[in-house]
């Protein structure tokens, strides 16, 4: 197919007619900047084919704002050596005309013709969508969709297959895929993916198993029922026969007979036992007599024995007596050694006591001397102390009071002096014998007195003179003075002294005495802390102890210095040893004495025994006894023989009667009777049980139930078999259909793969791209890389998409189908190297197909080797034909 010319009018921005002609067989590069109408041209071609002329969904074709427009497209192309002209108008003037060679088609016929030619379909209503585009959808690549190859192939679907029919023969099937889907969905209602039953089929299978189970159970029960019926028949017969024959009565009779026989045997056994007891008594008697006889006969033998025993006892005694002196000697030696050791030990003790006493005397004498000296000194210090104390007692005075006294005295002196200065001085010089009386005091001679108070001076014979010292101060001084004088007087009185000086002296004496007391007391206390009496008594005690020690020493005998006295410890150890030796010697002696007396006793006993036997042996009673015993023994032996014979006889009799068997017979017959009766009773019981059971079971109508159940099973099974066969058939059908379809696809796969490899080798020399069963490019491998095409980069996917489309175009061309490749601004994501390769591919493809390449980047495609067509420039061209 070769598009030669296109003309559009009243279509989007092409309000005026626009013609693109001189389109070439191979590659056509059509370029124009954005908005120049490049995409409109592509849209126009698509609309001319895909959109129904009467479609109302093509408003996008209308020029903007022109509601009266009738967008018109005119296409001239050549295919199959015939010229085709398509004229299609939309919206305001809906028309479609197709002239093929000399034939003319219009309206729907024209559109169907086109659809059949190119292999696409129209939408039932509305705008054409990707799913309607069929083969052109694959070869006409819209801007930016170059990589979406899978979708496009799917939409091309049946068109592709029928288009490729001529290549692969008559193998494709119209509607075959729908058929597969139908078969699959029907199969899937019966079988799971792995071929297991499901749904109704599964349910029937289970029901069938359930029925089988129930039938088996019912059969089992019917079988049981029949067994029970048979058992009932047999039992009834047995029961009645037993009732008629009564076998247990025979057994009872036999039992009675056996019992009688057994009782007889029991009696025999009793007699036997009695005789056996008698025999055993006789035997006992015999034994006793025998013993007596033996005893009597044994006396002489015993006598000899006794004599030997006596001799032995005497021998032993003699031996022991021989040892006596030796043992007594050892004892006396031990005793004297013990006494010597004891003496030594006493001497050693005495010596030690004396030494200790002598030491005591020495120590006590010394102590006594010290105490005597101390006592003398103490007495002296005591005397000094007493003297000092006496001194202190005599001069005791309160130091504080003395101090105050001193102060008062001083104050008085001061006041007196002061008063004298202010006092009225009365001085007199009386003639001898004259006297005056001043204040009742007689004044004679010469004198002076300071008067501080109102005074009366009586001059004898003259009268009385009153003197009143003048001044206020004098009065107060006089009062103070008086107070002080009274105080002083008072204090002196208190202290019991005459004057202040005396008080001072006494205080000094007292203090010195106190010091002397302290000194004497300290000295005294150093010697006699507990007092003088204690010291005296200590001294007396020491004297007494000394006296006592001396007395003791004198009382202690003085050892003989010539004697060699060992130390006390040594003496005591020797004493202990001697004591032990003595104990042993005494013990030996005692043992010896007691063994001696025991031996004597033994000898005496032996002698007595021997004597007694010797007497007895010779007695006449013994002879008599012996004779009697011999006679008795003979009698007893005779009786024994008789009894034994009788016992043996009876024993045989009993043995012949077989009492053990008789006993078993009784048991056996008893058991038989019991068992026979029991059996019959059991039969009766079982009969009743079975009857009851059978009545109950019979009422259930088991066999009828079984029949019904089998009918149900049969129904179920029939339905199951139907479904089973259907499932198998559907499975087979699905397998066959799928298989055949795959075979078909494989036949198309090979040529497509060939074309794909042709292009791919240009892009990636070492790569391969597998075509899958849906004829889609699938697994891509390059060296060690392996993956799906969808995992490649966008650019690579676009390139793969394009070469896949070209491969399809090649395949379609081989099948004699029209191929027109339209690429709208494709490969924009390819780098320059890859683009170079793609250009080679496009150039190669263009040798087989017409390719319209629309672009807004003409510079990228300069080296395609074809003259570019500039839309802008073409717009200026006047309307073509």
């Amino acid at each position: 197919m070769k598009l030669q010319r296109m003309r559009i009018e009243q279509l989007r921005q092409f309000r005026k007619p626009f013609v693109l002609d001189n389109l070439q067989t191979g590659l056509n590069l059509i370029h124009g900047p954005n908005e120049s109408g490049k995409s409109t041209l592509v849209r126009a071609i698509r609309a001319a084919f895909f959109e129904r002329y009467r479609s109302t969904a093509v408003d996008d074709l209308r020029p903007w704002g022109d509601s009266a427009a009738a967008p018109t497209i005119e296409l001239d192309f050549e295919h199959d050596k015939r010229t085709w002209r398509l004229t299609k108008s939309f919206l305001q003037r809906k028309r479609c005309d197709l002239v093929v060679g000399t034939e003319t088609y219009s309206e729907d016929d024209a559109e169907e013709k086109l659809a059949e030619l190119l292999g696409y379909q129209y939408p039932k209503r509305g705008a054409s969508k990707a799913e309607h585009w069929g083969i052109p959808g694959l070869l006409w690549v819209e801007q930016g969709t170059g990589q979406d190859i899978e979708q496009a192939i799917e939409h091309a679907g049946d068109h592709l297959k029928s288009a490729l029919n001529s290549m692969v023969g008559e193998v494709a099937s119209s509607g075959g895929d729908d058929l597969i889907e139908t078969v699959r969905s029907q199969r899937d209602t019966l079988l799971t993916g792995t071929g297991k039953p499901r749904g109704d089929y599964l349910k029937l299978e289970k029901d069938r198993a359930q029925y089988e189970l129930e039938i088996e159970e019912l059969k089992e029960r019917v079988h049981k029922y029949q067994e029970q019926v048979d058992r009932l028949g047999k039992l009834t017969q047995d029961y009645e026969q037993a009732e008629a024959e009564r076998p247990w009565e025979d057994a009872q009779r036999q039992l009675e007979e056996a019992r009688v026989r057994y009782q007889q045997v029991e009696r025999l056994e009793q007699q036997q036992n009695q005789e056996k007891a008698t025999l055993s008594q006789l035997q006992q008697n015999h034994r006793l007599l025998q013993q007596n006889k033996e005893h009597l006969e044994g006396l002489s033998r015993q006598l000899e024995g006794r004599k030997a025993e006596l001799d032995r006892a005497e021998r032993d005694l003699a031996t022991a007596e021989a040892q006596t002196p030796m043992i007594a000697g050892r004892l006396s030696e031990a005793r004297s050694a013990y006494e010597q050791a004891e003496k030594q030990r006493k001497l050693a003790g005495l010596l030690q006591t004396r030494q200790r006493l002598e030491q005591d005397v020495r120590r006590l004498e010394q102590q006594k001397q010290v105490l005597t000296d101390n006592l003398a000194k103490a007495k002296e210090y005591h005397q000094q102390l007493e003297q000092a104390r006496q001194q202190a007692r005599e001069n005791r005075i309160d130091a504080e009071l003395v101090k105050r006294l001193r102060a008062t005295g001083n104050q008085l002196n001061e006041e007196t002096i002061r008063s004298r200065t202010i006092a009225t001085r009365l001085s007199w010089q009386l003639d001898a014998g004259a006297s005056l009386t001043l204040n009742d005091e007689s004044l004679t001679g010469q004198g002076e007195q300071q008067l501080l108070e109102e005074s009366t001076l009586v001059i004898p014979g003259v009268g009385t003179l009153g003197i009143t010292p003048g001044g206020e101060e004098l009065a107060s001084t006089r009062r103070k003075l008086k107070t002080l004088e009274e105080n002083l007087e008072e204090q002196l009185k208190t202290l019991g002294v005459e004057s202040v000086q005396q008080a001072e002296d006494r205080l000094s004496a007292f203090e010195s005495a106190a010091r002397a007391v302290k000194h004497a007391d300290e000295l005294f206390k150093s010697l006699a802390p507990a007092g003088l009496e204690q010291l005296i008594s200590d001294q007396k005690e020491a004297e007494v102890e000394l006296e006592k020690a001396k007395t003791q020493l004198e009382a202690t005998p003085k050892p003989d210095p010539k004697e060699n006295v060992p130390a006390l410890e040594e003496a005591e150890a020797a004493f202990t040893r001697a004591g032990t030796a003595l104990d042993k010697a005494e013990t030996d002696d005692r043992t010896h004495q007691s063994s001696l007396s025991a031996l004597k006793q033994a000898r005496d006993n032996a002698k007595t025994e021997w004597q007694r036997l010797a007497d007895e042996e010779k007695s006449p009673e013994r002879q008599q006894q012996l004779r009697q015993i011999t006679t008795d023994l003979a009698n007893i032996e005779k009786q024994q023989a008789e009894l034994q014979a009788s016992l043996e006889r009876r024993e045989r009799e009993i043995r012949d009667a077989r009492p053990d068997f008789l006993k078993q017979d009784i048991e056996r017959y008893q058991n038989a009777v019991n068992q026979l009766r029991q059996t019959q009773e059991n039969r009766g019981r079982e009969l009743r049980d079975i009857k009851v059971r059978l009545e109950a079971w019979g009422a259930e109508g088991l066999e009828e139930q079984l029949n019904e159940k089998e009918a149900e099973y049969d129904q179920c099974n029939r339905r199951y078999q139907e479904l089973h066969r259907r499932a198998q058939a559907l499975d087979l059908l699905l397998n066959l259909l799928t298989e055949k379809r795959q075979a078909l696809t494989r036949r198309l796969q090979a040529p497509l793969q060939k074309h794909l490899n042709h292009y791919l080798s240009v892009l990636f020399p070492e790569a391969s791209l597998e075509v899958d069963e849906q004829l889609r490019p699938g697994t891509f491998s390059r060296g060690t890389e392996l993956g799906q095409i969808t995992e490649l980069s966008f650019g690579a996917r676009e390139q793969m998409g394009l070469i896949s489309r070209l491969a399809y175009a090649d395949l379609l061309r081989e099948a004699g189908r029209p191929t027109l490749v339209i690429l709208d601004d494709t490969l924009v994501h390819s780098d320059s190297d890859r683009l170079e390769d793609m250009k080679r591919i496009l150039f190669d493809a263009a040798s087989r197909h017409q390719i319209l390449l629309f672009t807004c980047h003409p510079e990228k495609w300069q080296d395609l080797g074809v003259p570019p067509v500039d839309i802008q420039a073409s717009k200026g061209v006047p309307n073509g034909t």
Binding site: V183, I690, G698, Q705, A711, Q715, A729, L730, L732, K740
Partner: protein, 373 residues
Amino acid sequence: MPKFLHTADWQMGRTFTRFETEDGAALVEARFEAIETLAQLANEHECDAVLVAGDVFDAQTVSDRTIRRVFNATKAFVGPWVMLPGNHDAALAESVWTRAQRLGAVPENVHLALQPGVIDLEAQGLSILCAPLTQRHTYGDLTEPFSGYETPEDFLRVGLAHGSVQGLLPDEIDSTNPIAPDRAKASRLDYLALGDWHGTKQIDERTWYSGTPEPERFRNNEAGNALIVEVSEPGATPTVTSLPTGRYQWHQWRETLAVHSDLEQLLERLNTLPESAVVDLRLEGSVTLAGEETLLKALSVAEARFRSLRCERSGLQLTPTDQDIAALKADGYVGEVVESLRERQEGAQDDVARDALAILAGMLREREQEVGQ
């Protein structure tokens, strides 16, 4: 002039496994109706008694309801009925009969021959010599004692037994419960009423199998009758009349289809059958897809018409003709699948392939019809 009705093998309590539930129920019901029919016939023909020669019940443990219904169905005829236990309902220690007695279901005019011996029907002048089965199977001739049974001189001696007459019945020579072929003569019987064989069959002039009154299987011809037996006097030759009692006729056809006309003939024959037919078809051979379509349509019509129709077609191959395939438009690989299935079917007698082909043809036909519309 004594006259009695001879019947046998009622097989009450039987259910039918191979039918649809509804058909099975109808067939069971028909057996109860058959008893009523017998009672009615006995009245119509003024019979003195009705003799049932064994297998009244199909099993020992049928439901109480079935037992009661059987005896209820006899009530139209008030004369004596003598029922003999057969191999299906033998008089065991515990049996359907003892249960019936316990239930109180047995009317007074029904005599149960549970012991071997003679039942004298005084009023009717009939001595019935009975040989009931008291075990499920016996290997000796139970009618042997008949010779020793003494009966009143002016009474008819009528034997009643259940088993196989030795040497006369096909395929049953070695079967259990044997009966001597000359029993009637040997035991001076006026008539020997037999049961066990489900078709009506005469053994000699005095010995008959009455057959079952209502057919219950596809084999055994001459089922569905009862016998009216008339003996003018002791020693006289009996007059035996067979009367139809069956409601449904059972047909089992095994047909091989080779050419189209075979199919046409089969369908024509099917058309001639009455509506009361119970049909079991088993088809073999081969049929074209078009032929199968015709067959299916005809079967669908017949199913609705007959009491029961079952058709086993698994032995019938589908051989699509070129026209078939063209008509189905099975082109491309679907065509290949059809061919492959056809080959498998013919080569290996593969049922699955046959079914698959039928399914595929069905789908394609359906698709064609959709396209046609």
